[in-house]
C-alpha cells in the first residue's frame, strides 16, 4: 500500500493510469519540444537553402539587366555595334513581338484543347481516359527538345508517310507555336483536371438529381465553380511555355526585323538571349541579361496576376 491510498480499498486503475499518463507526458514534454524545435529549425535551413539560389538569380539579373531597359531596348531591332560606338546595339523589339505572336498562337489552340481534355479526364472513368491521363503525364516529362524535332519534321519539312502528305512550310513562327502548344497541352490538361475534380461530388449530384445532362452540369456548374483553378492552370502553363527555348530552337528560324506574320521566320526572347549571349560583341553579351530580366519579369507578372485574379474571383463569390 502506498501513500494516498486508504488501507483495504484496492487502488483505482483508472486514477493510477491518469497519474502515469500525466507524469510521462510531463517528463517527455521537454524532449518532445526540443525535437520539435530542432525539426522546425531544419525546415528553416532547408527553406533558406532553397531560397538562396532563387534570390541569387534575381539579384544578378536585376544588377546586370536593369540598365539595358530603355526606350531603344523595347522599340528598336538589333544592330551590330560599330568600332565608333560599341554600344550601338539597337533593341530587341523583334524578339518581344516574336514571342508574343508565337506564344499567343500556341495558347490559342492549346488552352481549349487542354481544358476540354482535362474536363474529359475529370468526368470520365473509362479505360481510354486513364490511357490519356498516363500519356499526358509522360508528355509533361518529355524533354522539350523532342517537341522541337517533332515540329521541325511536321511543320518545317513536312510530313509524308502512310500515304498522308503535308507540305512543309519552312522555318516559321507557326512551327514554334506548334511546338510550344503541344508542350502546353498536357500541362493544362493535368492542372485543369485537378481543378475540375476539386468540385465536390454532391454539387454535381445536385444537378443530376434535377434531371440535367452531364454536359449541361459541366457547362453550367462544374466549369464555373472550378474557374479560379482553371485560370491559374492555364496561366501557369503559359508562363512556363514563354521561357521555353529548346522547342523553338530550330524551327522558327531568325529575323532581325519586327515580324508579325507567323508564316515567316521570327525572333523570340529565349532564343535572342542565346544568340546575344554567344555573340562576339561585349555589349550584346551584356544585353542578354536585360532580355533575361524582361523574360523573368513577364513570367512573374503572369504568375502573380493569375494568383491575384484567382484569389479575387474566389472572394467575389463569397
Amino acid at each position: 500500500m502506498t501513500m494516498g491510498v486508504i488501507e483495504g480499498i484496492p487502488p483505482d486503475p483508472i486514477l493510477e493510469r491518469r497519474e502515469m499518463v500525466q507524469r510521462v507526458a510531463r517528463k517527455t514534454l521537454d524532449r518532445r519540444i526540443l525535437i520539435s524545435r530542432g525539426m522546425v529549425g531544419l525546415c528553416g535551413v532547408a527553406l533558406l537553402l532553397a531560397l538562396v539560389p532563387l534570390f541569387a538569380i534575381l539579384y544578378s539579373l536585376l544588377q546586370k539587366g536593369i540598365r539595358w531597359w530603355n526606350l531603344d531596348f523595347f522599340t528598336k531591332v538589333p544592330q551590330f555595334p560599330s568600332l565608333i560606338d560599341p554600344n550601338a546595339i539597337g533593341g530587341v523589339s523583334n524578339a518581344i513581338i516574336g514571342s508574343l505572336v508565337i506564344d499567343g498562337i500556341a495558347a490559342l489552340f492549346a488552352i481549349p484543347i487542354g481544358i476540354v481534355a482535362g474536363l474529359f479526364l475529370a468526368e470520365s472513368s473509362s479505360k481510354f481516359s486513364s490511357m490519356l491521363r498516363t500519356t499526358a503525364e509522360i508528355m509533361t516529362g518529355l524533354p522539350s527538345i523532342l517537341l522541337g524535332i517533332f515540329a521541325y519534321q511536321m511543320i518545317v519539312i513536312g510530313f509524308d508517310e502512310w500515304g498522308v502528305k503535308l507540305p512543309g512550310i519552312g522555318f516559321s513562327g507557326i512551327a514554334g507555336s506548334f511546338a510550344i502548344g503541344v508542350l502546353m497541352i498536357p500541362v493544362i490538361m493535368k492542372a485543369s483536371e485537378t481543378a475540375l475534380r476539386g468540385v465536390p461530388a454532391p454539387i454535381r449530384e445536385a444537378g443530376l438529381a434535377l434531371g440535367a445532362r452531364r454536359s449541361v452540369i459541366a457547362r453550367k456548374v462544374v466549369i464555373p465553380t472550378a474557374l479560379p483553378g482553371l485560370i491559374t492552370a492555364v496561366l501557369l502553363a503559359f508562363s512556363r511555355a514563354v521561357g521555353e527555348t529548346a522547342p523553338i530552337l530550330w524551327v522558327i528560324g531568325a529575323s532581325n526585323i519586327v515580324e508579325w506574320s507567323p508564316r515567316k521566320e521570327m525572333a523570340s526572347m529565349p532564343l535572342q538571349i542565346f544568340q546575344s549571349a554567344t555573340s562576339p560583341y561585349v555589349a550584346l553579351r551584356e544585353e542578354a541579361w536585360g532580355i533575361a530580366l524582361f523574360l523573368v519579369f513577364v513570367v512573374l507578372v503572369i504568375n502573380l496576376g493569375s494568383r491575384l485574379f484567382a484569389a479575387w474571383l474566389q472572394r467575389e463569390r463569397r
Binding site: T2, M3, G4, P11, P13, I14, L15, E16, R17, R18, E19, M20, V21, Q22, R23, V24, A25, R26, K27, T28, L29, R31, R32, I33
Partner: protein, 279 residues
C-alpha cells in the same frame, strides 16, 4: 507506487461548490468570450461544470456552443485571428493563463468530433493507444491494458477484441465513433468534450452512445454539444442554453440542472426554444 512519484492530478475544487444538487465542480468559466478577427462568436460565458456529470450545451446554430467547446481544448490556438478571453479553470489550472502547454492540457481534456475520425492508416489497436504513444508511453503491457480498459468502457471490446490488428476503416460508422471515444478515453482525461457525437449516426448507434455516456461519467466529466434537445434531456445532468444575440454573437441564456431547465426554466426565451421544438 513510489510515494515520491505520486503527482496530484486530482481536480476537485473541494472548497468550491457549484449547484449543491450536482456536487463538486470540475471546470469553471468566468467571463469567457471568443472572437475571430475581432468578431465575437460567443461572449460572457460564466458557469460551472459539475464533476463526473454530463453537461449539455444546447441552442440554435450560430449560438457559439461548438466555439465554446473547442475553447476548452484550446483548439482555437491553431486558428489565426482567434482570441479567447476570460478564464476557464480546470481544477487549479487556468488553462489559458497558467502557462500550461496546450499538448499537456489536451491529455487532460479529450475530444470526440461530429464525424468519426479514426486515423485511416492505423489498426484499431494503434488508434486506441495513439494518444498514449504521442505522449511518450511505449511499454507494451501498459498500452494493452489501457486499450482494453478504454475499449471496454466504449462498449467496443466484445466486437473487436479478436481483430485488434484490423484497420479502423473496417468498422461501421457507429463503431468508428465508439473507437474515437475509446481513443479519447485511453489517456484517461479528466474531461471529455463531445461535439454532436451522434449527429452523423443511425438511431441505434445513437442510442448505444447515449447509454454509454451514463456509464462513462463515473470515469470522466462530460461536456456535450447537441442539436437534439431530447438527447440533452435524456443524457445530461446540467444543461446550458445559448442564443445568438442581436450582434450575431452567442450568449449564455440560462444554465440549470437539466430537469429544471426542461420543466420550469427561469428565462422565457428558454421556454420558447424548448416549446418551439417540442410543440
Amino acid at each position: 507506487m513510489d510515494p515520491s512519484t505520486m503527482i496530484r492530478v486530482s481536480t476537485e475544487m473541494s472548497d468550491q461548490e457549484g449547484d449543491p444538487r450536482l456536487g463538486p465542480i470540475s471546470m469553471r468559466f468566468e467571463d469567457v468570450s471568443v472572437t475571430f478577427h475581432g468578431r465575437t462568436a460567443i461572449r460572457d460565458v460564466a458557469f460551472e461544470v459539475p464533476k463526473n456529470k454530463v453537461t449539455s450545451l444546447i441552442g440554435p446554430s450560430g449560438s457559439g456552443k461548438t466555439t465554446l467547446l473547442r475553447a476548452i481544448n484550446r483548439l482555437h490556438d491553431l486558428t489565426k485571428g482567434a482570441v479567447v478571453s476570460g478564464s476557464i479553470r480546470l481544477g487549479d489550472t487556468d488553462i489559458y493563463k497558467g502557462g500550461i502547454p496546450a499538448t499537456l492540457l489536451r491529455t487532460r481534456v479529450g475530444m470526440v468530433f461530429q464525424r468519426p475520425n479514426p486515423f485511416p492508416t492505423m489498426s484499431i489497436f494503434d488508434n486506441v493507444v495513439s494518444g498514449l504513444r504521442f505522449n511518450g508511453i511505449r511499454k507494451k503491457s501498459v498500452l494493452e491494458e489501457a486499450a482494453e480498459s478504454a475499449l471496454v468502457a466504449a462498449a467496443l471490446w466484445d466486437s473487436v477484441s479478436n481483430r485488434l490488428k484490423a484497420h479502423a476503416s473496417t468498422l461501421s460508422g457507429g463503431e468508428q465513433q465508439r473507437l474515437c471515444i475509446a481513443r479519447a478515453l485511453a489517456v484517461e482525461p479528466e474531461v471529455l468534450l463531445m461535439d454532436e457525437p451522434t449527429s452523423s449516426l443511425d438511431p441505434i448507434s445513437m442510442r448505444l452512445i447515449e447509454e454509454l455516456l451514463g456509464e462513462l461519467k463515473s470515469r470522466v466529466t462530460i461536456v456535450i454539444v447537441t442539436h437534439n434537445m431530447q438527447q440533452a434531456a435524456r443524457v445530461s445532468d446540467l444543461c446550458a442554453f445559448f442564443l445568438m444575440g442581436n450582434d450575431r454573437a452567442g450568449e449564455q441564456i440560462e444554465v440549470a440542472p437539466t430537469k429544471k431547465l426542461f420543466s420550469e426554466p427561469d428565462d422565457p426565451r428558454t421556454l420558447d426554444y424548448i416549446q418551439g421544438r417540442f410543440g
